[in-house]
């Protein structure tokens, strides 16, 4: 068990979760107190000593599922599944053996129906409905097993992370359509006052009001999410059985939210990013405000000290100091929002505006080949994400063909707003400088540099790709104070923190 724990801790560290030696010791100590057979309890209690941040929990959970997937009486089925897997691997065929394990599992009375070897797609679909209507976790698990066996087409020994299998399974199940059907069915059922309404939905009146429909939809959605989770677990279990925990952990390792590459984030990752953006901006604002308040002590303010000493008979009891009041910088953000770097620009705009109280003024401009000011979207809105949404739909950024043209955008900026750059302004230029071989017009950046306090370029591409292909960041870089690689939230946070 200790070996397993050590391997597990090593994996957590490799995934980026900092686990100190004391925490490792605590975890080992934990195992002495918590009964081995209670898998859930082990998961939470180990987590309590190993994971110290809620954003790391997902990564922890994944690693836990991999390393501890074969233990516990409830999980016998997987071991059986593992035999099946191994057997199949020997045969070298990729025909799935649907649920030797699951049938045995049902023999133990878990779930009803299904699990038959020759189940047709129709039967499976029916079982799926039943599972979703009845929210019975045993049936859901059975369905997940069946679906994976039937659709995933898993091949033994292939070094993949399972995303592909998941995709295949889900595509075949077509859960979105199922959701619609369920809602339709419920609607029909209630309108005809059929007794066939799904259990657990309370007493439905004659017709579904929009409110009820929404609640129902959410209910089904959560059940479908549960199913999806179950399918994911199932695939993972089989992969573990096939290739062993360590190899799998490596290919399943996902970056922590703050380390996700913004340019290549998947949809789920973008959601995770957006979620962690808000607490991050709040933290940043608090930290910056504190920094400003607790500045270093200033020099003695002689005049004020003497003035106050009058009340103590001319004895300067209470010396007064002149505290430094660092001025808040003015920020001008000029962001490329063309497809390749759009999400990066959005996150940066969001973050900068979320902490706009830390700057005396924030103005933002977006461009593709035309340029438009978007500060107005942020002014009224108290929710930056809404403003960001409006930028995508309303900003006028297309001039000719909708391909990035930094040169043209900068020239127009200089003509229309160049005057407004003052020595108090810090200019942030956002983009990958992939200019589609247009003229760079780098002189604008040079002029900006001459007039502004600082000019920074934030590039969401890895440094190794700079100046390759049509990237001309080098031409602009010579005129900037600094060119920073900002690919992850962590890097973005660090940059903005230093800026303010």
């Amino acid at each position: 068990m200790l070996d397993l724990l050590t391997g597990f801790v090593a994996e957590l560290r490799a995934a980026g979760i900092p686990v100190s030696l004391t925490e490792h010791l605590d975890a080992a100590e934990t195992l002495r107190h918590v009964p081995m057979e209670d898998r859930e309890a082990i998961k939470y209690t180990l987590g309590a000593s190993l994971v110290k941040s809620s954003t790391h929990w997902r990564a922890y959970e994944t690693a836990f599922e991999i390393y501890f997937s074969l233990r516990g009486p409830d999980y016998r089925i997987e071991e059986d599944g593992a035999e099946g897997e191994g057997h199949r691997g020997d045969d070298g065929e990729d025909v799935s053996i649907p649920g030797q394990g699951s049938r045995r599992g049902q023999g133990q009375g878990r779930g009803s129906g299904g699990g038959q070897e020759g189940m047709t797609p129709e039967e499976l679909a029916e079982l799926l409905y039943k599972a979703l209507l009845g929210a019975n976790s045993a049936i859901v698990a059975a369905v997940a097993r069946q679906a994976v066996s039937r659709y995933a087409g898993m091949e033994a020994g292939r070094p993949v992370g399972g995303t592909y299998y998941l995709y295949r399974t889900l595509r075949n199940l077509d859960l979105d359509r199922v959701l619609e059907q369920l809602v339709d069915q419920a609607r029909a059922a209630t309108s005809s006052l059929n007794a066939d309404t799904p259990p657990g939905d309370g007493a439905p009146p004659a017709t579904l009001t929009p409110l009820e429909e929404r609640l129902l939809r959410d209910e089904y959605q959560s059940r479908i999410d549960q199913l999806r989770q179950e399918i994911e677990n199932e695939i993972r279990r089989r992969l573990v059985a096939d290739r062993g925990s360590e190899a799998l952990a490596k290919s399943l390792r996902k970056p922590l939210p703050e380390d996700i590459d913004m340019m290549h984030a998947t949809r789920d990752e973008l959601v995770a990013l957006r979620k962690s953006l808000q607490p991050l901006s709040r933290k940043l604002a608090v930290r910056l405000a504190r920094k400003r308040r607790h500045g270093r002590k200033g020099a003695l303010d002689f005049r004020s000290t003497v003035r106050h000493s009058l009340s103590t008979g001319g004895v300067p009891v209470d010396p007064k100091f002149r505290y430094p009041r660092p001025s808040k910088p003015e920020i001008v953000v000029i962001a490329d929002i063309s497809g390749s770097v759009a999400s990066f620009a959005r996150f940066t705009l969001h973050l900068v505006h979320a902490i706009s109280s830390q700057f005396s003024k924030v103005r933002s401009f977006v461009f593709i080949d035309g340029i438009d000011e978007v500060s107005r979207f942020f002014d009224g809105a108290d929710d930056p994400s809404e403003a960001v949404h409006r930028i995508n739909t309303e900003a006028d950024v297309i001039w000719v063909d909708g391909h990035s043209d930094y040169g043209h955008a900068f020239t127009v900026f200089w003509e229309r707003w160049g005057e407004e750059i003052t020595p108090r302004t810090s200019v942030l230029l956002l983009g990958d400088a992939r200019n589609n071989y247009h003229a760079s017009q780098a002189w604008v950046v040079k002029e900006l540099r001459a007039r502004a306090r600082h000019v920074y370029w934030l590039n969401p591409e890895p440094r190794a790709y700079w100046n390759s292909g049509d990237s001309i960041v080098g031409e602009y870089a010579v005129h900037c104070d600094d060119v920073v690689e900002v690919r992850t939230l962590r890097q973005l946070e660090r940059f903005v923190g230093e800026l303010a």
């Binding site: 900092p18 100190s20 004391t22 925490e23 605590d26 100590e29 934990t30 107190h33 918590v34 009964p35 209670d38 859930e40 309890a41 939470y44 209690t45 987590g47 309590a48 000593s49 994971v51 110290k52 941040s53 809620s54 929990w57 309370g202 007493a203 009001t209 929009p210 409110l211 429909e213 929404r214 609640l215 959410d218 209910e219 959560s222 607490p279 709040r282 933290k283 608090v286 930290r287 504190r290 607790h294 108290d382 929710d383 994400s385 949404h389």
Partner: protein, 314 residues
């Protein structure tokens, strides 16, 4: 469940030196299940994670750092554990500018001054020993929790509000359960208190603090648990209504809001509905009472629109 019996301190200290871990007193709980049913008995519905960590905190004699969104019952957990174990709850509310004299101890200067003035015949040596004795020590929450002989639950609330430097004050007490007072020596705990620290995550806590604690993240509860919470905490609520409330709140939480409704706001809302005599919520009533659940006008507008069945733009 039973209170802690004061164990033999010397023996414990010896064992502590050999193992490097603070040694827990007699265990308060036998199993994780017992924690869970016990907490349910005092109207706190814990889930697997919460009960597991509380159990472990007792066994390992480690403090628990509880994080999570506002209003999910972090402070309530400490209170409930205190009620469950029949311990005294000592609470230290953290704020910016909290210092040693407010958290740990302070010398009672006025009393010391009086003592000095009262008899001036004594030698300095004697006097010095005298005025730096326990009699002149004002205990503050942390020291009080350590000195107490009865079982104690120590709650350090909103620890993220103190400055990074002040956190260091807590380190000694959290890992060794002792307080060093230069003039007096070290005060060791006669019983190991259960310690809960809560944080709203407005800043990253220091590694040193996190390392000494078990970490518990309390998130918004799942549907079933929230429904159960509503039913236990709101007297006179019907099952159907509780169910509906829990579902609507879940729906609202899936929206992209500035501030999702917390459990305590959910409870307020449920109470309001009970007072208003509502049996089953329709969209109109939901809209009229949403301001109890949500605290930003933009959020209220958005949720009202969603609940009325209008599709959102995205």
């Amino acid at each position: 469940m039973s209170g802690v019996v004061g164990p033999d301190r010397a023996a414990r200290a010896a064992e502590e030196i050999t193992t490097g871990f603070p040694v827990a007193g007699a265990p308060r709980f036998d199993s994780i299940g017992e924690v869970r049913t016990g907490l349910a008995g005092v109207d706190y519905l814990a889930d697997e994670g919460i009960s597991g960590v509380v159990f472990l905190a007792d066994r390992l004699a480690k403090p628990v750092l509880v994080e999570g969104p506002a209003g999910t019952g972090k402070t309530e957990l400490a209170k409930s554990v205190a009620r469950l174990t029949g311990s005294r709850l000592i609470r230290l509310q953290c704020y910016e500018g909290l210092d040693e004299s407010k958290a740990l101890y302070e010398w009672n200067y006025k009393k010391q001054l009086l003592r000095i003035q009262a008899d001036s015949g004594q030698s300095w040596q004697q006097l010095e020993e005298d005025i730096f004795s326990e009699e002149f020590l004002l205990t503050r929450p942390l020291l009080e929790a350590i000195k107490s002989t009865e079982p104690v639950v120590l709650l350090i609330d909103e620890v993220d509000r103190v400055e990074l430097e002040t956190e260091a004050l807590l380190l000694e007490i959290l890992s060794e359960y002792q307080v060093s007072i230069p003039e007096l020596g070290t005060v060791r705990a006669s019983q190991i208190p259960l310690v809960f620290l809560t944080s709203n995550n407005t800043r990253e806590l220091s590694e040193a603090l996190k390392r000494r604690c078990l970490y518990l993240h309390i998130d918004y509860p799942k549907l079933d648990r929230e429904r159960a919470i509503i039913e236990t905490r709101v007297p006179g609520i019907g099952q159907a209504l509780a169910d509906q409330v829990a579902r609507i709140v879940r729906s609202i939480r899936t929206l992209d809001l500035k501030k999702s409704p917390s459990v305590s706001e959910t409870l307020d809302w449920a109470r309001t509905l009970v007072v208003l005599g509502v049996q089953s919520i329709d969209a109109e009533q939901a809209k009229d009472t949403l301001h109890i659940l949500l605290k930003y006008q933009s959020d209220i507008d958005r949720a009202a629109k969603e609940l009325a069945g209008v599709e959102s733009p995205d």
